[in-house]
């Protein structure tokens, strides 16, 4: 099948982005540290765990530890994706690649898309390799096959897309480090809010909420609206990790985080393209 002409420059810019990032020493160091850290988790699978005086069976240990590792890897790679994205435009500008590319018959949207796909692809690959290490450890060493683990990894890639687009957009509006911290803040607030929401569903919290507090009900409404529309990064991770445990019932409520993050990606992507179209290249 022939590649449409407008896609060729995008694929080339994607290729150059991947090559340039992989050649960075900082990237190699981050990758090696992450891979070694994941390998070190191997020892945890062989421990004896006692909960309420009862020893956990091997299956429960593998599932629980794998799920915890899954979340840690997914969250860590989001931070790494933000770090990789924050200097992407600036480095290209400083090293002359931006003016080299855009002085050729290549539209700005093609350049931006190539950059997004390149850095997103690299982050997805990074996360997939780390998740694959866990998959291989459980498959070879513990004889527990969890192909859903890899499916879950791919599902989490939507979070990485959000992070990449958000950091790239913000890096055009503010210093790179501020863009990184903003997106990190969005992620942390979302994780904390989701944690509080999950805790509030517990029986104890429900009982506490039923007691008269004296606060008017409307005060909570604003927070609820903000909470519902806040980027659901943890929600996507939970949805992905639910695949690991093969949990059932994926109704709209469960799929909402995926929808939420996808909509954010589309909106932020459109804003990024619009902002870059009007950007003065120096």
């Amino acid at each position: 099948m022939e590649t449409p002409k407008s896609l060729l420059p995008i694929t080339r810019i994607t290729k150059y982005t991947l090559i340039d990032e992989v050649q960075q020493t900082s990237f190699v160091v981050m990758f090696v540290i992450c891979a070694i850290s994941v390998f070190l988790v191997r020892g945890c699978y062989h421990g004896n765990y006692i909960v309420n005086g009862q020893a956990l069976d091997a299956g429960t240990i593998v599932r629980t530890l794998s799920k915890a590792t899954f979340h840690v890897i997914a969250a860590s790679v989001m931070v790494i994706a933000a770090l990789l994205s924050m200097r992407l435009f600036r480095r290209d500008r400083n090293e002359g690649m931006q003016s080299c590319i855009l002085s050729k018959p290549i539209a700005r949207w093609q350049y931006v898309l190539g950059k997004i796909i390149g850095i997103w692809g690299l982050s997805v690959l990074f996360m997939f390799i780390l998740h694959s290490i866990v998959f291989l450890i459980t498959s070879i060493s513990l004889k527990v096959f969890m192909p859903q683990f890899l499916m879950g990894s791919l599902l989490c890639s939507i979070n990485l897309l959000f992070v990449v687009i958000a950091v790239l957009l913000l890096s055009l509006l503010m210093p790179d480090i501020a863009a990184f911290l903003c997106v990190l803040g969005i992620g942390i607030v979302g994780f904390v809010a989701d944690g509080i929401a999950a805790a509030s569903q517990s029986q104890i919290a429900q009982a506490m909420l039923r007691q008269p507090t004296g606060h008017p009900q409307s005060e909570m409404t604003w927070w609820k609206i903000v909470y519902v529309f806040w980027p659901k990064l943890l929600g996507v991770q939970q949805l992905a990790s639910s695949l690991v445990e093969t949990e059932s019932s994926h109704g709209f409520g469960t799929l909402y985080p995926l929808f939420n993050v996808l909509v954010y990606c589309l909106i932020l992507g459109a804003l990024l393209l619009k902002r870059f179209r009007n950007e003065d290249l120096v």
């Binding site: 420059p9 090293e95 003016s99 002085s103 050729k104 018959p105 290549i106 539209a107 003065d280």
Partner: protein
């Protein structure tokens, strides 16, 4: 080949380019002259759509500069050209060729030819990080020549070159002129411009002071430098 119509560029309260209108004909060797901060580089950036005019229009070969297709046959060399230090000169040229949508074998052929043309045989496979400023500038010119452009936009091409390099650059540009390539040169070296350019425009504080054939600008007993100083100071 190049048409600027009533082009103005404002940065908040600063007017970098003020209602500039001129055109450059096909095959012309044109120099844009002016003191530092006159708006020369802003005009070059607007030609390449790196920045957009506040008002007015620019077209290259009858195509508006905002459309990417107009850059199909343009070569550009930036002032203080930069190349990613992790690449070799060869890899950089290969990227430039690939971005022009040519096949891999054609790109390799073009790169070989360009390396010879810029006199960098034997150095093309070492990392750019080890190159001198002049060598980077040569590879920048090589990248600009990729794909046989019909229009060359050169922003201070002799920047960082030693006297021998400047002479070689001049000879190279003269050979390009002989091939009928339109050259838009942005330079401070008035003696060089006087030697090789057909037409020139002088701008100061964003305003176009004169645009004519050099032989019409420079009167008897004067040099281009004398005219430049008189117009800019006067």
């Amino acid at each position: 080949m190049i048409d600027l119509n009533n082009v103005t560029k404002r940065y908040e309260s600063l007017t970098a380019v003020d209602d500039v209108t001129f055109s450059v004909k096909k095959g012309e060797y044109f120099a844009l002259l002016g003191p530092n901060g006159a708006g020369k580089t802003t005009i070059v950036k607007m030609l390449l759509d790196f920045t957009r005019p506040t008002s007015g229009s620019i077209s290259l070969g009858s195509i508006p500069s905002t459309q990417a297709e107009c850059r199909q046959s343009i070569g550009y060399l930036a002032e203080n050209h930069h190349i990613p230090p992790s690449l070799s000169g060869w890899q950089y040229l290969l990227r430039c060729a690939e971005l022009l949508d040519v096949s891999r074998s054609e790109a390799i052929d073009q790169c070989r030819h360009i390396v010879e043309r810029i006199g960098m045989q034997g150095r093309e496979n070492t990392k750019v990080g080890t190159y001198s400023k002049g060598m980077v500038q040569r590879f920048g010119l090589g990248a600009a020549l990729m794909g046989d452009p019909k229009l060359l936009i050169l922003d201070e091409p002799t920047s960082g070159l030693d006297p021998i390099g400047i002479r070689e650059m001049r000879q190279l540009l003269e050979s390009l002129k002989a091939q009928g390539i339109t050259i838009f040169l942005n330079s401070h070296l008035l003696s060089e411009v006087e030697k090789i350019c057909d037409t020139a425009a002088i701008i100061n504080r964003g305003k176009l002071l004169v645009k004519d054939a050099i032989r019409n600008i420079v009167k008897d007993g004067e040099t281009l430098e004398d005219v430049f100083v008189r117009l800019v100071k006067g």
